[in-house]
């Protein structure tokens, strides 16, 4: 019959209309500033630098190798290497960045910096409320702004962080074992030398 399709459609929309008052589950939107949807596990916005321990600057995992700077497709990262080496989180002497800036107005959130980093030092953040009064200075984030603790990383990407932590722990254990072996190897050596001297 002609026109029944229209009536069917009208009934459907009427059901939606009434349903949206009676059934809160129907509403597909949330009232954003007051209500929030929990962030998705794999959400990513802009990169941040992970630090271990208490001091955000000394604990940075970044060793200023500048791989990310070179790989970044839109060239939004600026790194200036420090001239002196400092002990890194594994106790090794490493360079640290003196300057580490990311211009998030240029960043395209591609995550390539995260993929190329050999030190698990740069990760993607889920923070998205980044509007600023100043378009240029406000969106240029420096080292202080970028440094976020490993605890923060564990909170926003739990599964990924656990994997990274276990890998780093394994590496650290391996390094320690190696150091111990080296130390063990080094310890008898003087003895033998002594022996040879004798």
């Amino acid at each position: 019959m002609l026109g029944t399709g229209i009536i069917k459609g009208m009934v459907e929309t009427a059901r939606n209309f009434v349903g949206s008052y009676t059934d809160k589950e129907r509403l597909t939107t949330v009232e954003y500033p007051e209500e929030r949807i929990p962030a998705k596990e794999n959400a990513r916005q802009f990169p941040f630098l992970v630090f271990d321990g208490e001091d955000p600057q000394a604990g940075l995992r970044c060793v200023a190798c500048q791989i990310c700077e070179k790989e970044c497709p839109p060239q939004c990262i600026l790194i200036v290497k420090d001239t002196t080496k400092k002990p890194d989180y594994m106790g090794k002497m490493q360079f640290q960045p003196k300057v580490f800036d990311i211009d998030i107005s240029v960043c395209m959130s591609c995550q390539i910096c995260v993929e190329v980093c050999p030190f698990e030092a740069i990760k993607m953040d889920t923070e998205f409320e980044l509007s600023r009064g100043d378009r240029f200075g406000g969106l240029l984030v420096n080292k202080t702004g970028l440094a976020k603790s490993n605890a923060h990383y564990r909170r926003i990407h739990p599964a990924e962080a656990a994997e990274v932590d276990s890998r780093l722990a394994a590496e650290k254990a391996k390094a320690e074992a190696k150091a111990k072996a080296a130390a063990a190897a080094a310890a008898p050596a003087p003895a033998t030398a002594d022996v040879s001297k004798k």
């Binding site: 019959m1 002609l2 949206s20």
Partner: protein
Amino acid sequence: MMDWIREFLGMLWKTVSDQPDPKAAFLPLIPEEWRSETSVLLSIAPLMMIFPALFALTTVVERKGLGRIQNRLGPNRVGPAGFLQFAADGLKTLTKEDIVPRAADQLVHFLAPLALVVPVFLTFSVLPFGRHLVPLDLESGLLFFFAIGAATELSVFMAGWASRNKYSLLGALRAVAQMVSYEIPLILSALTVVMATGTLSLPQIVDAQAAGNGEWLARWHVFTPWGFFGFALFLVAACAEANRAPFDLPEGESEIIAGYYLEYSGFKFALFFLGEYLGLFAACGLGITLFLGGWHAPLPILERWIPSYAWFFAKLAALIGLFIWVRGTLPRVRMDQLMNLAWKFMLPLALVNLLAVALWHFLPNPLARWAASSILLAGAYVGLGRALMPPSRIGKRVYRYAPQDSR
């Protein structure tokens, strides 16, 4: 001075309480030479206040209603439950820059919004809003309504042409073609009422729909077969005349951006918006007057307690709600579908409807009237619908290169 205030308040009270000739006591206080002007002003002022206010309210209600239809909340930030959204929108359009394209025809571009809003306001002047609330009781009120309404097409063309923009011009062409096409079913469906009542005066048409002595149900035209059909045709045609979804091709934001008012910004755009909604209200008001018994209550008993204009505005609100509902439901039609609907379906049906009302008029027996006009109209509807339904083209899929037997 005290007399003035007292009589003015008395006039307001008489209007609100539905008493005859509310201006009678106030006008003698005005000097003789200003009396007619004052009377005109007193009739116009409420129209100029109430309908724009209704427009403001409708924009909010429409957005909230559409939101609910799509399982959203709709605007709810400005004012209580978002009902002051129109104030924010109005202020925004008032303070926006008025941009006129350099290549535009400055004068015509400026005149176009006025040429829309002025006729639309004029159309309200003949509608009977209540028992004693007819701004202009013209003998040929219906003719006035359609004549003035036809002038709005001109403004659409002016806007589209003067903007010097291809999308504007396309929108104007679409709009004018659509308005010209749908004006015919609109007028033909209104003509049925003229045939049945024998008058073009809108207050007299309303009077013809009052319940007779001792009848418990009002004689609204929509309760007759031809009236029901005429009302349906009228609503569809009015929807197309007002360029509302599903007939909003002239705006067609997905293909021609905003149609004929693409190059309008700021308050001129707001005027177009206002004109479009006021045109819809006027068409609804005419539909109420012609088919829904005007300001009459469905049951005459109810008229004793509830003032007549309240019935008019309740029906108006219901019709606006219906239009919002339709807008939230139906997708936009295609241009050829639009023209086919007007010329191949609605026009023949409107002509058959004229025949039905003639039958109704000449058959004396109520049962025979009902049967004859119902059968005629239902037959025309079903037959035309069947004949125009495109043959189903869905069949077995044919491949061009693959062998036919392979799946």
